[in-house]
C-alpha cells in the first residue's frame, strides 16, 4: 500500500531539493554577469582621489595602501598600469596580469578579489581576508540547512496526519468487521478531525439502528411466541375426545413455527456477532447422534473432538438433517462423522433428486430456492445459510456435493482438536 504520509513527505523533500538547486543556479548566473556596474566607476574615482598621485614617491603610496589595508581589513596591492607592483599591504597577492584584469569582483584562489582600475590607469587589487569559506558554498550550505530544517520539521506533522488517517481507517475497518461500538478519537480541529467526528456520528447512528432492529426482532419473536404458546396449550387441552391426527398436526405446525422464529432470531443475532460467543470441547459424533436420534436416524463414524459453540453446532447438524428429510426424497439418509487429518468431517447424504452442479453454491444463500423445485412451503430459507455461517465461524466450511448413486451429500469440515475419543 502506498502510504499517504510518505507521499506527502517525499513531495516536500523534492520541492526543497528543486528550490535549493534553482537558488544555486540563479546565484551562479547572477555571478557571471560581466558588465561593470556604474558604482565601480565611482569607487575607482574615489579611491584614486584617496591615494597619492601616480608620480608620488613609493613610500607615500605604500603608506596610503597600509592605511587603507588597516581600515578595510583587506589585503591590498597597487600596480602600475603595466602590471609592476607599486605597493602592497597584508598577505602577498597572487600574480597579477593586467592583460586579463577587469574591474569588479573575481573569484580567486585565496578568496574573492576586488580589482579596480583607477582613472590614471593604476590597478588596485584588494582581497578580502579569508574569514569565511567560499560564499557559494556558504549559501548552498545555508540553503541545505534550511532544507534539512524544513524536512525535519515537516516529518512529524506529515507523519502525524498519516497516523490519524490510519487510526481512522482502523476504526472504519472495525465497524465494517461488525463491531458496531467502534469509535475513533477526535484530535485537533481540522478536516481529519471533522471526518473522525462524522465517522463517530455515523457509527453511533448505525449502532442505534441495528440495536433497534435487533430489539424489534427479539420483541417480535417474543410476541409471536405468545400466541404460539397459547395454541400449544390449547392443542393439549383439546383432550382425548379430539381427533388425534388433527391434534398431532397442530402440534407439528406449532413446533415448525417455533423453529422458524428461532432461525430468524439466530440469523439476526449472528449477523451482529463477528465471532463465537463461547467455545467448549464438543464430541461431534455424539452431538450428531443426539440430533439424528430426533429424526430416528443412526450415525456412524469415529469420535472427533472440535472446539465450538455447542448450541450452534447442534443447529448446524439439525438444519442439515432437516434439509435432507425435506428435500431428500424417500431413500435412507446417512449421517457420518470422520476424521481426515486435522479436520472433522460431517457428511449428510440423501437419495433425493440432488442439486444441479450450477446451483450447489447458491443454495447456501439465504432464501435461495432450487429453480423448478417444488414449492413445499416449508423451511425458513435460512437453514443452509446458517449451516455455512456456523461452519465458517468455527474456521471450517460447508459444501454441497453429489452423492454416490444420486442424491446430495452435504459435507461440513471443521478444525478438529487434539485427542480422539
Amino acid at each position: 500500500m502506498q502510504r499517504l504520509y510518505l507521499q506527502f513527505y517525499i513531495t516536500i523533500l523534492v520541492v526543497l531539493a528543486v528550490f535549493v538547486g534553482a537558488a544555486v543556479l540563479l546565484w551562479r548566473l547572477a555571478d557571471d554577469d560581466n558588465r561593470t556596474p556604474q558604482y565601480l566607476d565611482v569607487a575607482a574615482e574615489l579611491t584614486g582621489a584617496l591615494l597619492p598621485d601616480i608620480d608620488a614617491p613609493k613610500q607615500d603610496q605604500q603608506r596610503a595602501i597600509e592605511v587603507l589595508q588597516r581600515k578595510l581589513r583587506f589585503d591590498i596591492a597597487l600596480y602600475e598600469p603595466d602590471g609592476d607592483m607599486i605597493a602592497m599591504a597584508g598577505k602577498p597577492p597572487p600574480r597579477f596580469n593586467p592583460m586579463h584584469a577587469r574591474t569588479g569582483w573575481r573569484r580567486g584562489p585565496g578568496g574573492p578579489n576586488f580589482t579596480l582600475q583607477l582613472p590614471d590607469g593604476r590597478w588596485l587589487v584588494a582581497r578580502q581576508v579569508r574569514e569565511r569559506p567560499n560564499p557559494a558554498l556558504w549559501i548552498a550550505a545555508a540553503l541545505g540547512l534550511v532544507a534539512v530544517a524544513v524536512a525535519i520539521a515537516a516529518y512529524p506533522v506529515v507523519r502525524g496526519l498519516g497516523r490519524r488517517l490510519e487510526r481512522l481507517k482502523a476504526g472504519v475497518e472495525q465497524l465494517g468487521g461488525g463491531d458496531l461500538s467502534a469509535r475513533v478519537r477526535v484530535e485537533g480541529r481540522d478536516e481529519v478531525a471533522a471526518l473522525a467526528a462524522s465517522f463517530n456520528r455515523s457509527a453511533q447512528r448505525i449502532e442505534e439502528l441495528v440495536t433497534a432492529h435487533r430489539l424489534l426482532l427479539a420483541n417480535a419473536s417474543h410476541e409471536l411466541r405468545t400466541p404460539l404458546a397459547r395454541i400449544a396449550v390449547a392443542a393439549s387441552l383439546l383432550g382425548e375426545n379430539a381427533d388425534a391426527k388433527t391434534r398431532d398436526s397442530l402440534k407439528q405446525d406449532v413446533a415448525e413455527l417455533d423453529q422458524l422464529i428461532e432461525q430468524i432470531l439466530l440469523a439476526s443475532r449472528l449477523e451482529a456477532l463477528p465471532t463465537l460467543e463461547r467455545r467448549e470441547p464438543v464430541d461431534l459424533l455424539a452431538l450428531a447422534a443426539e440430533e439424528a436420534s430426533h429424526y430416528d436416524l443412526e450415525v456412524e463414524g469415529e469420535p472427533v473432538m472440535v472446539s465450538g459453540d455447542r448450541l450452534l453446532l447442534r443447529r448446524l447438524i439439525r438444519n442439515l438433517v432437516e434439509n435432507a428429510q425435506r428435500y431428500g426424497g424417500s431413500g435412507p439418509i446417512t449421517v457420518t462423522v470422520t476424521r481426515e487429518g486435522s479436520r472433522a468431517v460431517l457428511d449428510v447424504s440423501d437419495h433425493g433428486p440432488g442439486v444441479p452442479e450450477a446451483e450447489r453454491q447458491r443454495i447456501f444463500e439465504p432464501f435461495y430456492r432450487l429453480a423448478g423445485g417444488a414449492e413445499t412451503g416449508r423451511g425458513s430459507g435460512l437453514g443452509l445459510a446458517l449451516v455455512l455461517d456456523i461452519a465458517r465461524r468455527h474456521g471450517g466450511d460447508a459444501a454441497c456435493l453429489a452423492a454416490e448413486g444420486g442424491g446430495s451429500r452435504f459435507r461440513v469440515e471443521l478444525p478438529a482438536t487434539g485427542g480422539e475419543g
Partner: protein
C-alpha cells in the same frame, strides 16, 4: 391439600388456560398480570410455587427473580422464549429452580412443577443431575421421569451415572467397563448391551426409539446432553 401456585404472566389468556389445566390436575392457580401485582399477592398470601414469565410489562423477570430471592425461598419456575441460552443459565444462577421454554407442553409444565414442589425443602439439589424431564438422584440412587420413580438395579444405576456424568461424549464398551470396575456385579453377569436395554426400558419414552441413551454402531454409547428440546 392442593398446592397453591402463583402465575405471573401478562398473557391473560395463556394464564387462564394454564389455570384450567393445572386446576384439573389438582393445583390452585392464582394469576397476576404484572410484577407489581405479583409482589402484592406474595406479601399477602403464601404460595407453594411461582411460575414467572421472563418478559413482564413492568419489570424484567430476571431482576424480579433476583429481588424476590433475597426475601423469599418459594420455588420459581421461569418461562422463557426458546433460543436464548443465556436466559436459561442466568435464570438458574439468579435462583430460579427450573425453566421452561415457550411454547411448552402443559404436561411438561405440570411435571416440572411437581418436581420443584417435591424438591422444596430438600437442600441437596446439587446431588441431582437433571436432563429435561429426567432426574438422576445421586444421593438416593433413584431415577425419575416427570417426577415419577423408575425402577433400575444398582449396577444399572452406576452404568447410567457413568454415562450421564459424561453426557455428550461417545463412550466405548471398554471405557464403560473400566468405569464400572469397582461396582459389585449382579448375581448373573450380563453384557453392557443388555444392561443398556434394561435402562432404556426404564427411562426412554419409546425404548425402540431411544432419545437419551444412543447407540453408535461399532463405537459405543452416548448419553444425550440436551434432552429438553
Amino acid at each position: 391439600m392442593a398446592a397453591r401456585i402463583l402465575m405471573i404472566d401478562d398473557d391473560n389468556r395463556l394464564a387462564g388456560m394454564v389455570q384450567d389445566y393445572l386446576g384439573g390436575a389438582g393445583f390452585r392457580v392464582t394469576i397476576a398480570g404484572t410484577a407489581g401485582d405479583g409482589e402484592t399477592l406474595l406479601k399477602r398470601e403464601s404460595f407453594d410455587a411461582l411460575i414467572l414469565d421472563l418478559m413482564l410489562p413492568d419489570a424484567d423477570g430476571l431482576d424480579f427473580c433476583r429481588r424476590l430471592r433475597q426475601s423469599n425461598d418459594v420455588p420459581i419456575l421461569m418461562l422463557t422464549a426458546r433460543g436464548e441460552p443465556m436466559d436459561r443459565v442466568v435464570g438458574l444462577e439468579l435462583g430460579a429452580d427450573d425453566y421452561l421454554a415457550k411454547p411448552f407442553e402443559p404436561r411438561e409444565l405440570q411435571a416440572r412443577l411437581r418436581a420443584i414442589l417435591r424438591r422444596k425443602g430438600t437442600t441437596t439439589t446439587t446431588d441431582v443431575l437433571r436432563f429435561g424431564r429426567l432426574e438422576i438422584d445421586k444421593g438416593s440412587r433413584v431415577v425419575r421421569i416427570d417426577g415419577e420413580e423408575r425402577p433400575i438395579t444398582s449396577y444399572q444405576f452406576a452404568l447410567l451415572m457413568a454415562l450421564a456424568e459424561r453426557a455428550g461424549r461417545v463412550l466405548s464398551r471398554d471405557a464403560l467397563m473400566d468405569l464400572l470396575k469397582g461396582e459389585k456385579l449382579e448375581a448373573f453377569d450380563r453384557s453392557v448391551d443388555v444392561h443398556i436395554s434394561r435402562i432404556r426400558a426404564a427411562i426412554e419414552d419409546d425404548p425402540k426409539k431411544p432419545r437419551r441413551i444412543l447407540t453408535l454402531r461399532g463405537t459405543g454409547y452416548v448419553f444425550a446432553k440436551d434432552q429438553d428440546r
